[in-house]
């Protein structure tokens, strides 16, 4: 289905309108078992092999709450600076859909486990934007349907549908923001930064791997525009399952342009669900919400209320790990780098590899240099995450060590890394195989320096007369003569020494 939407330029849209966003993020918890039964949550199993009467919704079956799921929800709530409910209930959200075995979803309605929080997110220029959190609540995932036949890949028009209930009942936490106002033209960036920060937070808490490409974290983007200066919100669209950080940014951007075009031409925005398309970066209409869908929520009578004791909540609070923002501040200070440099590290997804490399013995500046330089370039070329490169922090740390002790210069170190990446083994093995050690034999180096001075008398004279900067030319000559295997700094020292100049 190709629908060409009228768009106005982003700049024009923002000149006239103020975007208001609401982000709903679903996170699949990494519990061993499902939210309401003992079935495994392992991914990739044979369809419908991880099911039981409860998650299949067989007549007579009953749910039992997964305590670890509740614990994870509370941790998330605490990390988002939320209040934790002293008493809350699950509720049934009633609607018919084949991927939902009971034809209701066990969720939470007006009594979420966590509410009224906020998350401070770092923007690319290092500025902080506070996103207010409405609530975080517990619910269960649905099964997964694959619709065969038909043009849209959706149930309407499908010839038949396949259902896998392995996912049905996997615990989800839905985190809902309050309306995000005041982001202005930075709305797409704020949205992306929020989801990024949330993902880091979830990972730091250890409650989920939050891999968006695996559907472990899914984002719905609500967006509306209001004329600049207006206090009332416009009609919103809800773009479903925006499943990468980049898509979050693009979806917001696209919707701003689409809404603006509609409003500017005197039209109105339809309140509807939309689908985001990764390939085109555009959204298309899903089902139109002519009237608010009536889910007939009511308290789940098969479950008893959840009443986390204050002692438990306090204990969980005291055991929370260092949160990403605090950790970033600490590392920034430890590494002695600027906000901007830290943001680059964050954007590159390099924090964890750098920390691991430092833990393996490398100096911080070396670790950061290699991950942010050569390795970031490689990852970018290959279009993969840094952590997906076939090199370990321990290996990078070894390269750093070789550089520090002077066995490798930067040029050789790059070759060693190249060797590791193509599978030639550990750094030391690559050094051996490729014969990459720097010329550290002072005799051989001395000879090379002497030859360079002899061959460049004019330059040597300049240096003697105090133009120390001219030494670069001689260093270059020595490096060329040694096939790049010399330690440039040492070469420079030798040249100045031999010419009797103080470095």
């Amino acid at each position: 289905m190709t629908v060409t939407e009228e768009l106005v330029s982003y700049e024009d849209a923002l000149a006239a309108y103020d975007p208001v966003m609401g982000l709903e993020v679903h996170v699949e918890l990494g519990t061993k078992t499902k939210m309401f039964c003992g079935c495994s949550t392992r991914l990739g199993a044979e369809p419908n092999s991880q099911t039981c009467p409860t998650c299949l919704g067989l007549p007579g079956s009953l749910p039992v709450v997964n305590a670890t799921g509740v614990e994870s929800a509370i941790k998330i709530g605490l990390a988002l600076n939320c209040e934790i409910a002293e008493w809350c209930r699950f509720a049934r959200k009633n609607y018919f859909y084949p991927d939902m075995p009971k034809n209701f979803q066990t969720s939470q309605y007006d009594e979420p486990i966590a509410f009224n929080g906020y998350l401070d997110v770092a923007l690319e220029d290092g500025e902080t934007f506070r996103v207010h959190i409405e609530r975080a609540h517990m619910e269960e995932d649905t099964g997964k349907s694959t619709h065969i036949g038909g043009a849209t890949g959706r149930i309407h028009g499908a010839v038949h549908s396949l259902l896998d209930y392995n996912r049905a009942g996997i615990p989800l936490i839905e985190i809902v923001t309050k309306p995000i106002v005041g982001a202005g033209s930075r709305a797409p960036e704020v949205a992306k930064a929020y989801v990024t920060e949330l993902r880091e937070l979830i990972r730091a808490l250890g409650v989920s791997e939050a891999r968006m490409e695996m559907g472990q974290m899914r984002c719905d983007v609500n967006l509306s525009l209001r004329p600049n200066g207006s206090e009332t919100f416009g009609t919103r669209s809800e773009t479903k399952n925006v499943n990468s950080l980049r898509s979050v940014e693009r979806a917001v951007r696209f919707e701003i342009q689409r809404h603006a075009a509609l409003l500017a031409s005197g039209g109105s925005v339809v309140q509807e669900t939309r689908h985001f398309h990764e390939d085109t970066g555009s959204t298309t209409s899903g089902r139109i919400k002519e009237e608010a869908e009536d889910y007939r929520y009511f308290p789940e009578p098969d479950l008893v209320p959840v009443a986390p004791s204050r002692e438990w909540v306090e204990e969980l609070c005291s055991r929370l790990p260092e949160l990403p923002r605090v950790r970033r501040e600490r590392l920034k200070a430890e590494w002695d780098i600027s906000d901007h440099e830290m943001q680059s590290v964050l954007n590159a997804g390099a924090i964890d590899p750098i920390v691991a490399t430092i833990d393996a013995g490398a100096p911080a500046d070396q670790a950061r240099k290699w991950w942010m330089g050569e390795l970031a370039r490689r990852a970018n070329e290959d279009g993969v995450e840094l952590t997906a490169l076939p090199i370990t922090p321990v290996q990078v740390a070894r390269v750093c060590a070789l550089v520090v002790e002077g066995s490798l210069n930067d040029k050789l170190a790059r070759q060693v890394i190249e060797g590791v990446l193509v599978g030639e083994g550990d750094p030391d093995q690559v050094v051996d195989k490729r014969g990459l050690a720097v010329v550290s034999d002072e005799g051989a180096l001395g000879t090379a320096v002497d030859e360079a001075i002899a061959g460049n008398q004019a330059v040597a004279e300049k240096i003697r007369s105090g133009k120390v900067a001219a030494a670069g030319a001689l260093v270059g000559a020595v490096m060329k003569a040694t096939g790049g295997k010399a330690d440039a700094a040492r070469v420079r020292e030798l040249i100045l020494e031999k010419l009797g100049v103080q470095s």
Binding site: P59, G60, P98, K102, R296, P301, D302
Partner: protein
């Protein structure tokens, strides 16, 4: 009633189907009868009379005989047998039974073979109870006459043209027609007690959470409660003890010891209720109550007074709103509980001809698979939960529920148990109220409050109404987790009446 009454003076076995469960267990344990003989006697009885009564939807001859053989084998090996080992039981067709059909009295589950046993089913099997088959019921337990079964009505053994109560009419009729000494029912608004009352049998709704609901097909989750049905109070207690107790598979199951029901029943049989304060609920009388029912009830009150109880009148004003609240809460929950029957995964599927959408197949299946009463309640509940109506209907009903619970709390601050007639009338003729839902709903007027508050309650026979010669039930209600009080008072009343009548009431039932 002697535990050895199964053997007559000459030493020959009396009709095994006439024994109580306690007597049957003793006969099997002592070797006076084998479990297989007992099972066969009941299967024969079923074969002889159930065509007329229609208590059973499914008879599991093979399973029953296999279970009985296992009991005999255990005995032969000198293993100690449980208190109900080898005793036959009729199981309401609302509990899942692995490999044995479970229909809940509905077309929508016709042919469904559950892949798992309900916790209650497991406990019965572990106790070596012999499950004879599955009994008829109002579809999804919605009804008070068993006429709403998709598989045809059950007759009341006292008069086959009359209803055996509902929804558990099949279980009650099986007991009253000596097809089984024990049965299981479920009680959402009276579905154990009302059938017990109109068939002259004993039925107990335990405290909510006392018996696991895992594997019991849900009608109204916050009200449903499985419980024992029998011909004597002691038999009900023995069965109660087998099926009750905490189940980690049911979050609403109570994690506390089962009240000492068997001990209480044995104690009560001595006929001593001195020192007990018993409240008569003022609201359960007046218009709509049959004269003969009130007469037998008054006699019960007098009997209790004679046995040493102190009788006081108690007012529970919120009970007047119980029926209304019930008919909002139960349909609301059922509208959601029954949503899963969509024809996609199990049970009936209609219209799947390759041209229709899943939505259409679901609609057609539900249209064809649910009976009128089930549809009525799904519609009622869907409406009551709708946004804009929730507060007025479901919300208000929950408030009434709280008020009823408070009435009970206040009453139980003063008395040990409450008593009332179980139902306003005796068994009515089949068809009489079939087209008048409101009249039908009134059958549960006295039983519903205990469900709304989660209390324990029992119905036991207190005589025949003089005007129609049909059984009348006495209801006893105890506070939650004080189920033992039901048995103490119930056994005392039972002993008093049997002494007065010279025999158990069911002996007056006509031969079939």
């Amino acid at each position: 009633m002697n535990d050895k009454a199964g053997v007559d003076e000459a030493g020959a076995m009396a009709d095994l189907t006439r024994l109580t469960a306690a007597e049957t267990a003793v006969a099997i344990a002592s070797g006076e009868a084998s479990a297989v003989e007992v099972a066969k006697a009941h299967l024969d009885r079923i074969a002889a009379v159930d065509e007329k009564v229609h208590a059973f939807l499914h008879i599991d001859t093979e399973g029953a005989l296999r279970a009985a053989e296992a009991v005999d084998a255990k005995r032969a090996q000198g293993e100690k047998l449980g208190p109900l080992a080898g005793v036959p039981l009729a199981l309401k067709d609302i509990f899942t039974t692995e490999g044995v059909p479970t229909t809940v009295g509905s077309k929508i589950l016709e042919g469904w073979i559950p892949p798992y046993d309900a916790t209650l089913t497991k406990r019965l099997k572990q106790a070596d109870v012999v499950i004879l088959g599955k009994t008829n019921m109002d579809e999804f337990a919605m009804g008070s006459s068993t006429e709403n079964s998709a598989y045809g009505p059950t007759g009341n053994p006292w008069d086959l043209t009359r209803i055996p109560g509902g929804s558990g009419g099949g279980s009650a009729a099986a007991l009253a027609s000596f097809q089984a000494p024990l049965a299981i029912g479920t009680d959402t608004g009276g579905s154990i007690r009302q059938p017990a009352a109109v068939t002259g049998t004993v039925g107990v709704k335990p405290t909510y959470g006392g018996v696991s609901r895992y594997g019991m097909v849900a009608f109204s989750s916050s009200l449903d409660q499985g419980g024992p049905c029998a011909r004597t109070v002691l038999d009900a207690a023995l069965l109660h003890e087998v099926i009750a107790g905490h189940d980690p598979m049911d979050s609403t199951s109570i994690d506390a010891p089962v009240p000492p029901v068997v001990e209480a029943a044995r104690e009560g049989r001595k006929g001593d209720v001195r020192g007990m304060r018993i409240g008569v609920v003022k609201e359960f009388a007046g218009e709509g109550y049959q004269a003969g029912v009130m007469q037998r009830f008054t006699e019960s009150v007098e009997l209790l007074r004679e046995l040493g109880a102190e009788i006081v009148e108690v007012s529970c004003p919120a009970f007047d709103y119980a029926l209304a609240a019930y008919y909002l809460i139960a349909p609301s929950e059922c509208s959601s509980n029954l949503a899963r029957f969509d024809g996609l995964r199990y049970g009936l599927r209609v219209g799947d001809d390759g041209t229709k959408s899943a939505e259409d197949v679901t609609s057609l299946t539900r249209e064809a698979g649910f009976g009128p009463e089930v549809k009525r309640r799904i519609m009622l509940g869907t409406y009551a939960l709708s946004s804009g109506y929730y507060d007025a209907y479901y919300g208000s009903a929950q408030k009434v529920r709280t008020l009823i619970t408070r009435d009970f709390q206040r009453a139980f601050g003063d008395v040990d148990v409450l008593i009332s007639p179980t139902t306003p009338t005796t068994a009515f003729p089949i068809g009489e109220r079939a087209d008048d839902p409101m009249a039908m709903y009134l059958a549960d007027l006295c039983t519903i409050p205990a469900n709304l508050a989660g209390n324990a309650a029992m119905s036991l026979p207190c005589g025949l109404a003089p005007e129609d010669g049909l059984p009348v039930g006495l209801q006893i209600i105890a506070p939650a987790m004080a189920d033992d009080r039901l048995y103490r008072v119930g056994a005392a009343v039972e002993a008093g009446f049997v002494e007065r009548w010279g025999h158990p009431l069911l002996e007056e039932a006509p031969a079939l």
